[in-house]
């Protein structure tokens, strides 16, 4: 099994290398405007997410829009160490020079409660009463849409680093104040389709959540994989209600179709429960996924349950940091994590990986844009960010000027065990598989088209 996996990963890597060599010379050579510089990182040994030191006085206010209460409050908790880490780092550097004055980052929380009406009210409060300079968020495309609308109304830049739906940035919903740093539905699925087009499997089952996002993800995957690999068969396609308890009836139905891969775009808690129940049913087939990545979940699934999870994201290191910046960040984070108290002492926060790493990367990008704008004036921020090319912690990120969609290489990995030490004495994972060899899907193969109506908008 391991040999087979190694063989396919080797083939894939070689084909990607060949593709890169064959690209027209200079076709993707990008000149970066700015870079994340690991040597500028502060000493973070006093950072504690449970006790973030809010600066006083004249500050740059970041509105942290997340689900902070109710059943889905895990989302708010999950990204709190991310925004506070980046803010703490910048504050220790003395802040950012804006409008002739060094200002530190203050974080103001807005609780969307997972409900559009609450998201609207809280975004308005942050914009009008708290007078935040930028908005950061948010889990749930339906909530991101509301925040984007309010951001547009009050002309506050909004960095969407968590909501995927293509529709958020299409001709109908685009606004100048919203920038999406996360990949969109098409982008993620183009990468996944590219990866699977190089693998031998041809029979796929789809099981996603039954709402716009689930259908949109599955639709994009089918479309792009079929294009690259016409012989592929989608032997079953099901959509389940959110927060499903029992996946077994779906799994029995799926097993009857004899698939080679199960594709799911489920997020929490469905993704976790699905993976757990798939393995409990004795199914060992690969699960192509986007959100079955939290380490607490992986730990519970164990080695057998986590091998053959295939994850794709725009930020991934596994046990092998891909860049010097990533290595430095991972070490600083992990060492500091050992000192954190509940709830941040859980294994979920052990490494700034996948969704945590990607949002941290994006937050640094946002601060870098403000720094280069030299102002919190939304127009100046827009001017810098549109078309910006940033050498991030992992890879080059380009913010397309026309539709404010970030494009970049994507990363995919077939989880394997055992994992290695990230640095001496710091094992990546024990008792469960993690990202093995990281396959980079070049930007060329996963760049979504600019919506027709937005082409040339920024010219």
């Amino acid at each position: 099994m391991a040999e087979k996996k190694l063989f396919f990963n080797l083939c894939l890597t070689l084909s990607l290398m060949a593709a890169l060599v064959l690209l027209p010379h200079g076709g993707f050579a990008q000149e970066v405007n700015s870079s994340f510089n690991p040597s500028e990182m502060s000493d973070m040994s006093d950072f504690d997410p449970n006790n973030f030191q809010q600066p006083e006085g004249d500050t740059i206010k970041l509105g942290y829009m997340q689900i902070m209460s109710g059943a889905a409050a895990s989302n708010g908790e999950l990204f709190w160490p991310i925004v506070t880490w980046a803010a703490h780092d910048i504050n220790k550097r003395g802040g950012i020079l804006v409008d002739g004055k060094k200002k530190k980052i203050e974080i103001v929380t807005g609780d969307t409660q997972g409900k559009p009406e609450a998201a609207k009210k809280e975004t308005e409060r942050l914009c009008l009463e708290e007078k935040v300079d930028v908005l950061w968020g948010t889990s749930g495309s339906h909530l991101a849409k509301v925040i984007a609308d309010v951001a547009k109304k009050y002309k506050v830049p909004f960095m969407n680093c968590l909501a995927l739906s293509d529709e958020l940035m299409d001709e109908k919903n685009f606004n100048r104040y919203t920038f999406r740093t996360l990949s969109n539905t098409t982008q993620w699925n183009m990468a996944m389709a590219y990866y699977f087009s190089k693998r031998p499997e041809t029979r796929f089952s789809i099981l996603c959540q039954d709402y716009m996002y689930g259908h949109s993800m599955a639709g994009a995957f089918k479309k792009h994989l079929k294009k690259l690999k016409p012989e592929v068969e989608f032997v079953s396609e099901d959509y389940h209600q959110l927060w499903l308890k029992d996946f077994a009836p779906y799994l029995t139905k799926i097993m009857a179709t004899n698939p080679e891969v199960l594709y799911t775009a489920d997020w929490l808690p469905d993704g976790d429960n699905l993976a757990k129940q798939v393995r409990n049913m004795g199914l060992e087939l690969p699960i192509a996924n986007i959100y079955i990545t939290l380490r607490e979940t992986l730990k519970a699934l164990g080695v057998d349950g986590t091998e053959n999870l295939i994850n794709g994201y725009c930020f991934m290191s596994g046990d092998t940091p891909q860049t010097e910046a990533q290595a430095k960040l991972m070490k600083a984070w992990h060492e500091q994590w050992k000192t954190w108290k509940a709830p941040y002492d859980s294994d979920t926060y052990a490494w700034p990986e996948v969704v945590l790493g990607s949002t941290l990367n994006d937050t640094y990008w946002l601060f870098d844009v403000i720094k280069r704008a030299g102002s919190t004036d939304p127009e100046k921020i827009i001017e810098v960010w549109e078309g910006d090319v940033f050498q991030s912690i992992q890879g080059i990120r380009t913010m397309r000027a026309d539709d404010h969609q970030a494009v970049y290489d994507m990363y995919i990995s077939d989880y394997t065990y055992p994992t290695k030490e990230v640095y001496p004495g710091a094992l990546y994972s024990e008792g469960f598989a993690g990202p093995g060899e990281i396959i980079t899907v070049p930007q060329k193969y996963c760049t979504p088209p600019v919506p027709e109506g937005l082409k040339g908008r920024a010219e």
Partner: protein, 289 residues
Amino acid sequence: MDPMTFILITQLVHGLAYGMLLFLVAAGLSLIFGMMDILNLSHAYFFMLAAYIGYTIAGMTNFWVALLLAPLVVVALGMVIERFMLRKIHPFGHIPELVLTIGIGLIIMEFCKAVWGTQSLMLQTPEILSGLLNIGVFRYPLYRAFIIFFAVAMMILMGILFYKTRFGTIVRAATADADMVNALGINVPLVYTVFFGFGTWLAGLAGVVVAPFLSVFPGLADQVGFDAFVVVVMGGLGSMSGAFVGAILIGLLNSFGIQFLPTAAPLLTFGLMALVLSIKPTGLFGVRQ
């Protein structure tokens, strides 16, 4: 065995497993309402609290110790709440009870978030119940089979407790005529407190049993509690047999619905409930109060 027969049998067993899981949660809720006339909307939160406590105890010891101890913690909490809160407001009717039990539920949820955080926690399936049960060509997850057997065992235990023991006789007598039982020198309020504790114990057991099956997170009470409430209403408030039959019906409807009518599957449960209540407003086994 031809493939369709295999699928039908498997879906049947899936339906039973999920139904039995719901029964474990619904049983305590139904008993407390049937015997004490208390609509305890915090029941599902006791269930969730036990799942969290079970997660912690299992982490320190093992699943079996968690199954023994975690329900006892919620029993103690349940008895305190019955003695010092519910008993005082019970004479004022159901509305104050509903408000109080919803409030207790919210406090439990916030407590869980404060102690365990908001991330999904997963309890590993105990080693002895991992893997598959092989019966000829039929292979079935051992843990799901365990849920079925465990729920049936609990049903039998409850039958023995209520119909074959003195405690059961007293509880049933107190339900029929509390004043008379009191006049016979039996401390009826104490019986109620113990009985309420028994109901929460059932919720606690269900919480620990569900932990290796689902992830434990602050939405767990809503996720399972709502279905349990449907089971109780459809089976007939207060009827143990109703809860049992209702849970099996919902379980079967869920698994066969997914197999044959996947797009309508989520609606079937509510459709069945509406149908049952329109024909028999007191539920399948409920009696007019």
